[in-house]
């Protein structure tokens, strides 16, 4: 009976939510960018006088006078325009991992969950795959500003390699202290670059490097550096998560 009422309630909420929102959400074809922040971010016209104007200059491969020229606009939003969010985000992850360690860390005695006879092929190939996967992860986050991907994605891939190692080899164990140092180090560097922005340019996390040309690896000023740091941090953090949950009493 309770379930029936739950279904009714949920459906009612769905009705009210949906029909309240839909007429105003202008989705699909009507969804236009003309007055949205997203358009300004795409045009890189934030600091212009009239930021919503339609621009016609060519950016890719030429631009070097716009305010940030990461070819990947999503990256430019994450790491530059809304970089404070990203700082908070990596800290959330960092803190959550700390909490997990605090909860689980004491109860186990340096053991880990063992699996029954890992497959031989997996076992053997994992050692070959590990550097490749890590390399791929690094590639993802180093190229975050010009191709799809970035620090979080790359970090996850690196952490996935750790997970793979845990599945493939029963005697594998992550050296989590090193990971912690890496985590802290990259977090600190993130902040130091941010503070350098204040010292040099006057605003927190403001770019003070050369912007380069859009589409080149060395472009976008601080963006690739910070994304690399984020990537390192995320890979360290997620590896630590794997380590903690693989621990056993």
């Amino acid at each position: 009976m309770k379930k029936f009422w739950a279904i009714i309630t949920v459906l009612l909420i769905l009705f009210f939510l949906g029909s309240g929102l839909i007429p105003d959400l202008k989705i699909y074809k009507q969804n236009n960018l003309s007055q949205k922040t997203g358009k300004v971010y795409l045009n890189r016209t934030v600091n212009d006088d009239s930021p919503f104007k339609e621009i016609d200059k060519k950016l890719y491969g030429e631009a070097n006078d716009v305010e940030n020229n990461a070819a990947n606009s999503v990256t430019s939003v994450i790491v530059d325009y809304r970089a404070l969010d990203t700082l908070g985000e990596v800290t959330v992850l960092f803190l959550a991992i700390t909490g997990v360690i605090a909860l689980l860390g004491k109860s186990k005695k340096n053991n880990r969950i063992l699996f029954e006879k890992p497959n031989y092929i997996l076992n053997a190939s994992s050692k070959i795959l590990l550097p490749l996967i890590v390399l791929f992860g690094f590639y993802i986050f180093i190229h975050g500003h010009i191709t799809p991907g970035g620090g979080f994605q790359g970090g996850t891939i690196v952490a996935a390699s750790v997970l793979m190692m845990y599945f493939a080899q029963n005697n594998y164990k992550l050296k989590n202290n090193r990971m912690k140092v890496l985590e802290s180090f990259s977090g600190l560097s993130f902040l130091i670059f941010g503070l350098l922005g204040i010292f040099i340019m006057g605003d927190f996390l403001q770019n003070f490097l050369e912007l380069g040309i859009m589409g080149k690896l060395f472009s976008g000023g601080l963006i690739p550096i910070i994304y690399i740091l984020v990537g390192l941090k995320v890979s360290a953090e997620l590896s630590n998560v794997v380590y903690e949950f693989m621990g056993e009493e």
Binding site: I22, L25, I27, S73, V74, V92, V100, L104, F152, V234
Partner: protein, 122 residues
């Protein structure tokens, strides 16, 4: 007809997923299932964010050599950036709450909500 289908897919779909999570929270008594419900809600919200950023005939907001310049060819990058943050936060919360579930199990030897509440109130 096409419009209606799009409403269903773009708004009602994610909201329905979100509300499946709510349904789980309303009815489930198992701590782990509650966590799963929260995760389903996360999924719904993330889909909703992405759906709202969608535009017809537009591509991923990445400048490449091949595409012409005008920004109206790209989808809105902001929801995509936000969804990344949202995902990361939900991962963090999930990790923490799962650890909490483990500790709850260690302490009370059960995952049943009612039983835990009973022990807690004694």
């Amino acid at each position: 007809m096409g419009e209606i289908i799009n409403y269903w897919t773009f708004i009602y779909g994610p909201l329905a997923i979100f509300l499946v999570g709510v349904y789980g929270l309303l009815t489930q008594k198992n701590l782990f299932k509650l966590v799963i419900s929260i995760n389903i809600m996360d999924l719904g919200v993330n889909l909703y964010i992405i759906a709202l950023g969608y535009m017809d005939n537009a591509s991923a907001p990445i400048y490449t050599a091949k595409l012409a310049v005008t920004s109206s060819r790209f989808v809105d990058p902001v929801p995509q950036a936000l969804v990344l943050t949202s995902i990361v936060i939900s991962v963090a919360v999930t990790a923490f709450v799962l650890a909490l579930v483990i500790k709850n199990y260690e302490k009370y030897n059960t995952l049943d909500l009612i039983k835990i509440k009973g022990i807690e109130n004694d």
